[in-house]
């Protein structure tokens, strides 16, 4: 990521890392070493905090002592103010890594009587710098001098000299300045500090605030020119270079289960792509959260870490509701595999949400992230911003190979195949949940609208929430159209009945035929018997005949012998 860029050696301008999370990546390593940087912005935008963190990080992380010269807050006030961010200034002061100097300028006490210079300030600063060997200096807010000291002309000349002097001393300096009417600072300090100017902004849109930061200029260095949102959190400022990083995510062909076996089958038996983004859209009450919870449960079973960003329900509510359909998330939370993060979208601006999500993700390193639902963000920003935010979120998640499941609520009456925040193009897989109304009841249907790079079923499945999770069923699709729910059941039982009747008929006919067969067989047997009788008679007859012929022959011979007639062989032959 950008970190590699930051580490790359730079020729020419050397940089001093601020140590502020994310900022060094934007400005290519840090602020210009030994030069002044102007931090400007309106009241309450975080200038002083920025400057303080610069010194604290310098002292604690880079072993560079720093001098904080405050023209507005006393050292006690400053110490107290930043203590809430975990900065222990007293400790740093005691260990000579930090020196706080409060410069009080009270116009009412001061009368001018001719020419002067700021040598006193120089001496004071130099004394402070030398006493702790400072490398970093903060002047907050030096513009106060304009209201406290007379003769702006002299003051300007002296400030110019001061900045020059700080440069000569090689101090990496932060000068803060209040935003002016038409200029970056009221007194036009940007004229004198020409090396690096960073503008802080605190904008409130629709009652939601977002802090943003922009590098106005950075002489001699490349820098990100966008407005970067930043957060002031319990650990100080964090900036994340979260503009879309680009379309060069690592990809994988690994697949992970959806947690619903039948749904896996619909994705050619393997489930979602790992690191893909899945959009789950549907009207109210179609079971979006349940599908998401199934996915989470499956991931937890594989011992993968998950974060559930909920923008509608609290953690307990989700856990309770899901346990009613047999998805028990509680053990995974206890095991540390699952984290919930529930927040109303309207509590922060979009950027703050995004940054918070980034932070949670970076902290926890999950394999699966669920955002439920993204549609609620619309209340926190206009659609374009929401889309830009989600693009960045998805890009970020893809970069990190995190599988993401977004749910989005489609208002009834709107086109189902159009996601509310128009993020469908960002989704690799789009599951659509819809309610099908037939026969006076509503049933849930699920189908895959698209799934990039894999074969997937084109069938609408009926989607049941049972007390042991989600079950997908085939919808009845026949002559009567698509049927679900009890209509499907009715149709199915009707079919079963018809089947039964048919079966019975077949059996009956089989028996009938069997009988007939047997009858014929019996007939055949009888005929056979008759045949045998006939043949036996025939044989008997021919035997008798043979017997008779033999007897006749014998009798003739006997007659001949009795007559003792002349033997006439020829006569005998003639006969």
């Amino acid at each position: 990521m950008a970190k590699e860029r930051a580490k790359a050696p730079r020729i020419g301008l050397s940089k001093t890392p601020t140590g502020i999370q994310g900022l060094d990546e934007i400005i290519g390593g840090g602020l210009p070493t030994g030069r002044p940087t102007l931090i400007c912005g309106a009241a309450g935008c975080g200038k002083t905090l920025f400057a303080t963190e610069f010194l604290v990080r310098g002292a604690t992380q880079y072993n560079e002592p720093g001098v904080f010269m405050s023209f507005e807050e006393t050292t006690e006030e400053l110490t107290e103010n930043v203590a809430s961010l975990g900065f222990d200034l007293d400790h740093l002061v005691a260990s000579k890594l930090l020196l706080l100097d409060y410069v009080r300028v009270e116009r009412s006490e001061i009368q001018d009587t001719g020419e002067y210079d700021l040598e006193g300030l120089f001496i004071r600063l130099e004394y402070a710098i030398d006493s702790i060997g400072a490398r970093r200096v903060v002047l907050d807010t030096i513009e106060s001098l304009f209201s406290g000291l007379p003769n702006p002309l002299i003051l300007r000349a002296e400030l110019r000299r001061l900045f020059r002097w700080l440069k000569d001393k090689g101090m990496t300096t932060i000068i803060t300045g209040e935003k002016g009417e038409n200029s970056l600072t009221r007194q036009g300090l940007e004229e004198y500090v020409s090396d690096c100017v960073i503008f802080l902004d605190h904008r409130v849109t629709d009652q939601l605030s977002t802090r943003r930061m922009r590098v106005v200029k950075y002489r001699g260095s490349t820098h990100g020119t966008n407005e970067y949102p930043f957060l002031i959190e319990d650990q100080g400022i964090s900036v994340l270079p979260i503009t879309s990083i680009g379309l060069n995510h690592p990809i994988t062909t690994r697949r992970i289960s959806t947690g619903i076996p039948r749904l896996d089958t619909m994705f050619s038996g393997k489930g979602y792509f790992k690191g893909g983004s899945i959009l789950l859209s549907g009207t109210a009450g179609t079971g979006k959260t349940s599908v998401a919870a199934s996915f989470i449960q499956a991931a937890c079973r594989r011992s993968e870490r998950c974060i559930f960003f909920s923008f509608e329900e609290s953690q307990l509510q989700i856990v309770r509701n899901m346990s009613s359909i047999g998805i028990d998330l509680e053990p995974w939370v206890k095991k540390g595999l699952l984290r919930f993060y529930a927040e109303r979208p309207s509590v922060y601006g979009l950027e703050t949400h995004l940054m918070t999500m980034y932070r949670k993700i970076i902290e926890f390193k999950p394999a699966v992230v669920v955002v439920d639902p993204i549609t609620n963000f619309i209340h926190a920003g206009d659609p374009l911003d929401v889309k830009s935010m989600l693009t960045r979120l998805i890009d970020f998640l893809k970069m990190n190979q995190i599988t993401t499941l977004f749910t989005t609520l489609t208002s009834s009456g709107k086109d189902l195949e159009q996601s509310e925040v128009d993020v469908s193009s960002l989704a690799d897989t789009w599951l659509l949940l819809r309610s099908i109304e037939i026969g006076g009841e509503r049933n849930r249907g699920l189908y895959i609208l698209k799934s990039r790079g894999m074969a997937h079923s084109n069938q609408i499945r009926e989607f049941l929430l049972t007390d042991h999770g989600i079950t997908l069923l085939d919808v009845y699709f026949g002559a009567a159209g698509v049927l679900t729910g009890s209509a499907r059941l009715a149709q199915e039982s009707m079919e079963k009945e018809a089947e039964l009747v048919h079966q019975q008929e077949v059996t009956f006919r089989k028996i009938n035929l069997g009988c007939k067969q047997k009858a014929v067989e019996a007939q055949i047997a009888a005929l056979h018997a008759e045949l045998e009788a006939a043949s036996a008679e025939m044989k008997k007859l021919s035997d008798q005949e043979k017997e008779r012929e033999k007897r006749l022959a014998r009798e003739r011979d006997a007659i001949v012998r009795m007559r003792k007639a002349d033997r006439n062989p020829e006569g005998g032959k003639r006969k």
């Binding site: 100097d101 410069v103 009368q111 210079d117 001496i123």
Partner: protein
């Protein structure tokens, strides 16, 4: 460089002492001029009731913090109270007198 007023003892009754501190940074023409101007002024208006302490921040830089010194030269009226600060080379006598609150008292 303390210069107690010579005529202090001659003062009649309880008179205010003007405790003045002039901050300079080295012997620059501006600081020399300021000191000269101050002395002339005090002799003219506060004869015998003033004390001038010149502090050279080049030598004692740590002292700048105490009186919140930024501009050089700065004249601080420590006494009488309240503390007043006058910056510049004190060339504008009129303003110095107003600044030190001398004119109204004199």
């Amino acid at each position: 460089m303390k210069q107690p007023a010579p005529s202090e003892k001659n003062a009649k009754g309880p008179r205010e002492i003007w405790d003045l501190r002039l901050y300079v940074a080295g012997q620059t023409p501006k600081s020399i001029e300021a000191l000269v101007n101050l002395k002339t002024l005090c002799e003219g208006h506060l004869k015998g009731q003033y004390r001038i302490e010149v502090i050279d921040l080049m030598k004692n830089p740590q002292l700048a913090k105490g009186d919140q010194i930024l501009a050089i030269p700065t004249l601080v009226r420590k006494l009488p109270e309240p503390i007043k600060k006058i910056i510049g080379d004190l060339s504008n006598t009129e303003r110095v007198l107003v600044g030190l609150d001398i004119k109204s008292r004199a």
